[in-house]
């Protein structure tokens, strides 16, 4: 058939060439029907079980996009909290200084990849049900899609607040007519999705599938979502479910949570899978591109260990650590794991002597003689033997732990405390976390204790800003606290409502129904 057409068209060419004008121009109109020979059309996809697996992997893929966890996510999270004082005025520090206006790069960059995952999850939920495949496998993939959709809607609603509610594949025409909805509708979807995922997801995947979402991840996230709503009543049972599942426990060594050698460990509920194999691209949907921790450039102390502007940690955080001592009178070992600061002390911990050292065993005085700035050390992956910025952008394959058991315990302590006060259950949970760091047990706690413990345990794990947001402390602890953002021009751009980003111009300008967020009109 195809060759007949070819012959016909060849005949056409010959005839046109010889007879020219005599011939009707319509003779070889067929040449105008061209389809792309270099690409597959989506029409033939979503047919087999293998397609369903490829689709769900495709949905995870944006997690390692430069705009997401391999870099930019840190600027939409930790760089906005009260610990991080980012250097310089740039697109990277715009959100931190409350300048996340609709035309800012960061506002557009962190928006897009989360929606990519949502749209891919929506496509899976629309098309995979029609595939003939193993029912259990299908149910797991559908549940996974719901988890991924909920996860990303949660990140978006916490960052941008006023979103469109999209649950099905959408084309360009529809995209111009959709409207933003009340955030509560988004939360309702998130909760429904997570509940569905919680029951249909496996508790554990086979070893060659490690990294995919589990029922525990869905449970932990469900609790986190309830906590973000200060809904302690619903959060508490979910936290208990995770605690009683028997699947999770704290690692003996606190630092194991931040080293490549101990990824996907028993403390971990969900991790972003990163791998360093020399590829230097920027993740996402390109072949052979980087999937390593490019964000490390932005948390390493500048200028010695990063080519980026980087950041420092505000002094109050160190002071908070130094306010108390371990049971044997040392500096909190988490301080030496989290921060790089000038100190004469060391802390024996898990058979090592923790102190103010960084890459290559260099001491603070060697690197920053005469300085008293505090820098970040968590996630720098010192044990893996990598040496700083020298290795390029994706030199570390250190997974990013999005949700770990210590967070579950502290959230439980908080929920329990809010509902029932300083009960033995609340104390047991927080003390379990403290004990791992050789810190003395509390006998009674206040909300302040819980808040402080979260700083010591979870700083630089992208939870602090979310915490401040749910506690309503952004204005008090960031905006009205001089010096918190002193390295990038202060917080003068703040207006009420700017706890959230504005909606990106790409959305506002292409859909007449979209509105700026409060504080940005």
């Amino acid at each position: 058939m195809h060759s007949t057409i070819k012959q016909l068209s060849r005949l056409c060419i010959a005839a046109t060439a010889t007879l020219g004008l005599v011939l009707l121009p319509s003779c070889d109109e067929d040449i105008l029907n061209q389809t792309n020979p270099s690409a597959i059309t989506p029409n033939s996809f979503y047919q087999t079980a293998d397609d369903a697996v490829k689709a769900i992997i495709g949905a995870y893929s944006p997690f390692t996009d430069i705009w997401y966890y391999t870099r930019m996510n840190i600027f939409a999270t930790d760089y906005r909290d009260d610990l991080v004082n980012g250097f310089g005025t740039s697109e990277r520090t715009d959100p931190g200084r409350f300048a996340a206006e609709s035309n800012k790069n960061m506002v557009a960059w962190t928006w897009a990849p989360a929606w990519k995952i949502i749209s891919r999850a929506n496509a899976i939920l629309a098309y995979v049900p029609n595939i003939e495949m193993d029912a259990e496998e299908k149910a797991a993939i559908l549940a996974e899609a719901r988890f991924l959709r909920a996860y990303n809607y949660f990140l978006l609603v916490q960052t941008y607040r006023n979103l469109p509610l999209v649950t099905e594949p959408i084309d360009l025409e529809e995209a111009r007519t959709v409207s933003q909805v009340d955030p509560q509708q988004i939360y309702d979807l998130i909760i429904a999705d997570l509940k569905a995922a919680q029951t249909a997801l496996p508790a554990q995947w086979p070893a060659d599938q490690t990294g995919r979402a589990t029922s525990g991840a869905a449970t932990g996230y469900l609790a986190r979502v309830y906590m973000s709503q200060l809904d302690y009543v619903n959060a508490r049972p979910e936290l208990l479910r995770a605690m009683n599942s028997g699947q999770y426990e704290l690692m003996a060594d606190y630092a194991d949570n931040f080293e490549e050698a101990s990824e996907n460990n028993k403390e971990s509920l969900f991790e972003i899978q990163l791998v360093s194999d020399g590829n230097s691209g920027w993740g996402g949907d390109a072949p052979g591109a980087g999937k390593g921790a490019g964000y490390m450039q932005d948390i390493a102390p500048p200028p010695a260990f990063t080519g980026q502007d980087g950041m420092r940690i505000n002094q109050w955080a160190l002071d908070l650590f130094l306010d108390e001592r371990t049971v044997d009178g040392h500096v909190d070992p988490r301080a030496f794991t989290t921060l790089f600061f000038d100190s004469d002390e060391t802390t024996p911990y898990q058979g090592r002597e923790l102190g103010p050292t960084i890459y290559g065993g260099q001491t603070y005085d060697e690197v920053f003689p005469g300085s008293d700035f505090v820098f970040n050390k968590k996630y720098l992956d010192l044990e893996a033997g990598y040496t700083t910025a020298s290795q390029g952008w994706h030199f570390s394959g250190n997974n990013f732990r999005v949700l770990r058991y210590a967070d579950i315990l502290l959230l439980f302590a908080e929920a329990e405390f809010q509902l029932n006060g300083s009960t033995p259950e609340a104390l047991a949970a927080i003390n379990q976390v403290r004990a791992r760091a050789n810190m003395p047990a509390f006998t009674i706690i206040t909300m302040q204790d819980i808040m402080d413990e979260r700083v010591k345990e979870l700083s630089m794990e992208r939870t602090r800003y979310q915490d401040l947001l749910r506690w309503g402390l952004v204005e008090e602890l960031i905006v009205n606290r001089p010096g918190v953002k002193s390295e990038s021009g202060g917080t003068g751009a703040y207006r009420p409502g700017r706890e959230y980003f504005d909606i990106p111009d790409s959305e506002l300008n292409n859909n007449p129904n979209f509105k700026h967020n409060p504080g940005y009109e």
């Binding site: 029907n33 992997i57 310089g88 995209a175 200028p303 010695a304 202060g490």
Partner: protein, 1012 residues
């Protein structure tokens, strides 16, 4: 394609055999040329169809070697051109007539040629004699300053750099260039032509002239005709040899090591941060690296050309070869180009066969790294024999850059030296056309064209170590190589009928049908980890990282017709219609119909017109028409499944493949349409010695194909193409030519100027932001309704705060004494995004060119000036030189604001830059206006008398040529013609952004022309 190359081979063979049989029967012809007032000095006498000839001397006399079959062409500005067959005459007495004026030159138009007096459209033509005069590497560049309404922007001064051509202002947002028609072949560029091969260049500027090219013509049409042989029975051999040197015109005054340390220390002190050891306690007075000085050099150019041409009544031929070799003014950049062209015609009775075949090979070794951001600091050592590769970008033997206080440091020159880069291209541009005159006046023509190119783009980066930062080392050797092939074939049928009726009606009808098919195929490879740095082919690599490849095919079917009608030579009418169908669009949107109509009135031919008065001739033209552009990529409307998603899974974190849809598609795209209205006037004055052409035009482009962002909540990450924007270009063009002789010598002058107003009139989306000039994300241009395309946008600097209190008064909690005071444009007492404004346009509103020819005895001189005004250039060196925290400073940063130097215009030195002084502002903008002597050539020809004795040599001319002898400008970057090479690429939204422009050189050349 086989049949074409066979045909070409046959033609070459035939031409060479035919040529060998020719005999030269040279004789000496002498004579005088005069007009009613007496002898004319400096009249050009050429043998028709060749470039050999002479000029008349002081007494109007001339001597020329010619054959009886030769036709001598006498031309002189302000006079009618005369053609005189030599026959058996040895002595010629020529009288030239001022009444027959210039308007009767023949102008090449689409699918034919016309007497200039019959033209109804706006067409500018420039002869190859003018263009071929200057030894330039790029034929496009030779058009610069020649034609009103035609803007030629050099793409920087790199060897072999191309040029951007904009005819009557940009009416597109897609960076589209004009259509080039080279000997009937529709193609995308004339860069690879040998300038010496050009017979004439016609630029079709309005719809009346260009509508015959329909969907291809929206950005104007440049028609190039190459030189053919002359049917004079003789053989002409011409050789042109030239050689020269070039060097950068301007240097940027970067800080030396001492100045750098001073500035940086002051910044640290201002910020309360520690000084870096290399600038302070460990300052090494023996290190002072000047990367600019190390990188610049004196370059060389060699050019050799040879042409053989001749022919008889039955056939003519022209065979030419040219080789150009250029080493750039920046080290590690060079270019060479070889051209071969064979043109011939065969005529017998009513049958005629023509062929034109050009072969080109270019080898380009560009230096991509010169003047890159965050280049080696003056305090850092340039070499270190202990480091891999032998070079360094730090003074610390461990490779750390911490002592310099920066986290990034390149070594642009070492990188260029160690890396291997070559782009090799072979191109073939060929056309064979046969025509037959069926009955008197009715001619059928079949034309087949082939435009083919193969490119190998090769880059090998060996492992090296300059320092331990990410940009200072290459941990694995990488080969990046791409082979691509492009083929475009056109088969064209035309029928032409020309008839004169009843003496007064002249009619010319044209109908045609064409079919163009373009195909391309690309195979690339990215390979890493080689056993050795010296083995540089992919098969030896341990890691074949990726193989980006693609294929495309597109087709265009068109039919067209044109009517030219003239009544009594006074009233002229042209009407054109073209229908195109393109494979790039959906079936129901595929076809576009483009009509145009124009009228002309030769007032000068009216009986009431007095040709002997102040005005000697006058013509008025009016045209209106629509033309199109299908400027979008193949398969733009096809949805695609992305096969490249990946996520690492499993305990050993294997990358698993995932599929997804990432491309949003708008399949409703169609042609963009340009509607042009043109009013023109041509007149001659002063006994027809001064001829003037004026045009006013309004060019409205609608449904512009532009990539627009889409809501990202769709999950799509592309910018699909939409028919969205509208742009209006209004302009006025003026051209004048004048010739006169005074006493000893005579001269001619040509001038042209263009006024242009470019404005975006509709853009339904958000403003298009572009013009990034630093890796730090700052961007400088916006495209928005009411403004020219890509206008500069940002804050206005209103001065520098003299005290902290002054800053506080403005509500600036972030600023203090020494910081920029930005203008509070909306007057709300706060500095916010809303205080940004439009700061100027990169598009000149005024462009002009001036060329002058002087003749004195055997000497000749040609000067070509050109200039632009009304545009701004963003000089990114200012950004880097005052604000970048990791690169070198400008020496002037020493003069930054301090309490003691409070009158400075430069804000205080700071690295933290809390007040965000470095935001996009008019501080970076400079006037792009310039006036320059683009070319100066002084030649000396041995007088014909001296050559009489030698039968072999008919012409010896020696010349000196200087390019860019002087340029008057306030611009402080390398050159006010930066091209478009900023990090955003050649995109139109980056025009006028000078980030790392290759310096424009000043070139001195010496040349010798020989004729045999």
């Amino acid at each position: 394609m086989k049949q074409y190359s066979l045909a070409g081979l046959f033609v070459i063979l035939f031409t060479l055999l035919g040529g060998a049989g020719l005999k030269a029967q040279s004789l000496t012809v002498t004579g005088t040329v005069e007009d009613a007032d007496g002898p004319l000095i400096g009249v050009s006498i050429m043998k028709k169809g060749t470039s050999s000839g002479t000029v008349t001397d002081l007494d109007g006399g001339f001597t020329i070697q010619a054959e009886p079959e030769d036709i001598l062409v006498f031309s002189y500005i302000g006079y009618g051109t005369l053609e005189v067959p030599v026959g058996d005459q040895r002595q010629l007495q020529i009288t030239m007539d001022t009444d027959a004026n210039q308007l009767d030159e023949i102008v090449v138009v689409g699918y034919g040629s016309q007497k200039k007096s019959d033209l109804t459209g706006a067409v500018s033509q420039v002869s190859g004699t003018e263009l071929g005069k200057f030894p330039v590497a790029n034929a496009t560049e030779s058009l610069q300053g020649r034609l009103a309404g035609v803007r030629i922007e050099s793409a920087g001064g790199a060897p072999g750099a191309g040029a951007f051509v904009t005819i009557r202002g940009s009416g597109t947002l897609s960076n589209a260039q004009p259509l080039y028609v080279i000997d009937g072949i529709l193609t995308g560029s004339m860069d690879n032509l040998n300038p010496a091969d050009i017979e004439s260049v016609s630029v079709l500027k309005d719809a009346s002239a260009s509508a015959i090219y329909g969907s291809r013509a929206a950005n104007g049409v440049v028609i190039v005709t190459t030189k053919k042989g002359s049917p004079n029975g003789g053989l002409t051999i011409e050789a042109d040899l030239s050689a020269g040197v070039q060097s950068a015109i301007n240097r940027i005054d970067w800080a030396n090591a001492g100045e750098y340390a001073l500035i940086r220390n002051r910044a640290n002190d201002n910020d309360g941060t520690n000084r870096s050891p290399a600038n302070d306690v460990d300052f090494d007075p023996t290190v002072d690296t000047d990367i600019q000085d190390l990188s610049l050099r004196t370059g060389a150019i060699y050019n050799t050309g040879l042409r053989l041409s001749g022919g008889s009544e039955l056939f003519t031929f022209s065979v030419s070869g040219n080789y150009l070799d250029e080493t750039g003014v920046v080290r590690e950049s060079s270019y060479n180009k070889a051209n071969v062209r064979v043109n011939s015609t065969f005529t017998k009775g009513r049958f005629r066969l023509e062929e034109s075949i050009g072969l080109t090979r270019t080898e380009n070794n560009p230096n991509y790294y010169f003047n890159s951001e965050r280049d080696i600091l003056p305090t850092a050592a340039f070499r270190n024999p202990d480091f891999e590769g032998g070079y360094a970008a730090t003074s610390d033997p461990s490779g750390s850059t911490a002592i310099h206080g920066v986290g990034n440091m390149r070594n642009s020159l070492a990188q260029a030296i160690l890396e291997d880069r070559t782009i090799t291209s072979n191109g073939l541009l060929g056309n064979v056309a046969a025509s037959f005159e069926i009955i008197d006046g009715l001619t059928y023509k079949l034309s087949a064209s082939l435009d083919q190119g193969n490119t190998n783009n090769y880059r090998f980066t060996p492992t090296y170590f300059f320092n331990a930062t990410a940009v200072g080392r290459q941990n694995f050797a990488e080969l990046n190589e791409t082979n691509s092939e492009f083929t475009s074939t056109i088969i064209e049928n035309t029928l032409n009928y020309e008839r004169e009726l009843a003496g007064r009606h002249r009619i010319n009808l044209l109908a045609g049908y064409t079919r163009q098919v373009s195909t391309g195929r690309t195979l690339g490879i990215v390979a890493r980890d080689f056993p050795s740095n010296s083995i540089r082919v992919a098969s030896t690599a341990q890691n074949l990282a990726s193989a980006p490849s693609f294929e495309f095919k597109s087709a265009l079917l068109s039919s067209f017709g044109r009517v030219n009608y003239a009544y009594d030579d006074r009233y002229l009418l042209t009407a054109t219609l073209r229908r195109d169908a393109s494979s790039l669009f959906r079936e129901d949107l595929r076809a576009g119909v483009f009509p145009s109509v124009a009228i002309g009135w030769n007032v000068g031919k009216e009986s009431f017109f007095n040709a002997d008065g102040f005005i000697n001739d006058l013509k008025l033209r009016l045209s209106y028409g629509e033309i199109g552009s299908n400027n979008t990529q193949a398969y733009e409307i096809d949805p695609v499944l992305n096969l490249f998603g990946e996520y690492p899974l499993g305990t050993n974190q294997t990358r698993r493949t995932g599929y997804s849809v990432t491309k949003g598609v708008n399949d409703a795209i169609k042609w963009e349409t340009t509607t042009t209205t043109d009013i023109g006037m041509e007149a001659s004055f002063l006994d027809s010695r001064l001829s003037v052409t004026m045009d006013y035009f309004i060019k409205n482009t609608n449904d512009i194909l532009v990539r627009l962002s889409i809501p990202r909540f769709t999950g799509f990450d592309n910018d699909p193409t939409f028919n969205a924007a509208s742009i209006r270009n209004k302009g006025f063009e003026f051209g004048a030519n004048y010739g006169k002789f005074t006493g000893d010598f005579n001269w001619s002058l040509g001038a042209n100027l263009t006024l242009l107003d470019n404005e975006v009139t509709d853009l339904p989306s958000d403003p298009i932001v572009g013009g990034q000039f630093t890796s730090n994300g700052l961007r400088s241009t916006r495209t928005e309704v009411g403004q020219p395309i890509g206008s500069f946008y940002g804050y206005e600097v209103a001065g520098i705060y003299r005290s902290d209190a002054e800053a506080a008064e403005d509500g600036r909690t972030d600023a203090r004494a020494g910081d920029f005071k930005f203008r509070d444009i909306n007057g709300d007492g706060m500095l916010t995004d809303a205080d940004q404004t439009y700061l100027g346009s990169p598009i000149p509103t005024f462009e002009y060119g001036l060329n002058a020819n002087f003749f004195w005895r055997s000497f000749d001189a040609t000067l070509l000036f050109n200039g632009v005004a009304g545009n701004k250039i963003l000089n990114a060196n200012i950004y880097r030189g005052y604000f970048d925290t990791e690169g070198n400073y400008l020496a002037d940063a020493v003069n930054a604001w301090t309490p003691e130097n409070s009158g400075s215009r430069v804000p205080r030195n700071t690295l933290v830059d809390q007040a965000f002084n470095r935001r996009m502002s008019d501080f970076y903008l400079e006037s792009g206006a310039y006036f320059r002597l683009r070319n100066l050539q002084i030649g000396y020809s041995l007088p014909a008398g001296l050559l009489e004795g030698t039968n072999a040599i008919s012409k010896i001319r020696a010349y000196v040529n200087v390019q860019n002898l002087f340029t008057i400008t306030d611009y402080t970057g390398y050159y006010p013609e930066p091209g478009r090479n900023s990090r955003g690429g050649t995109n139109i939204f980056n025009a006028g952004v000078d980030e790392s422009a290759y310096p424009m050189p000043r070139t001195f050349m010496f040349g010798l022309q020989l004729g045999f």
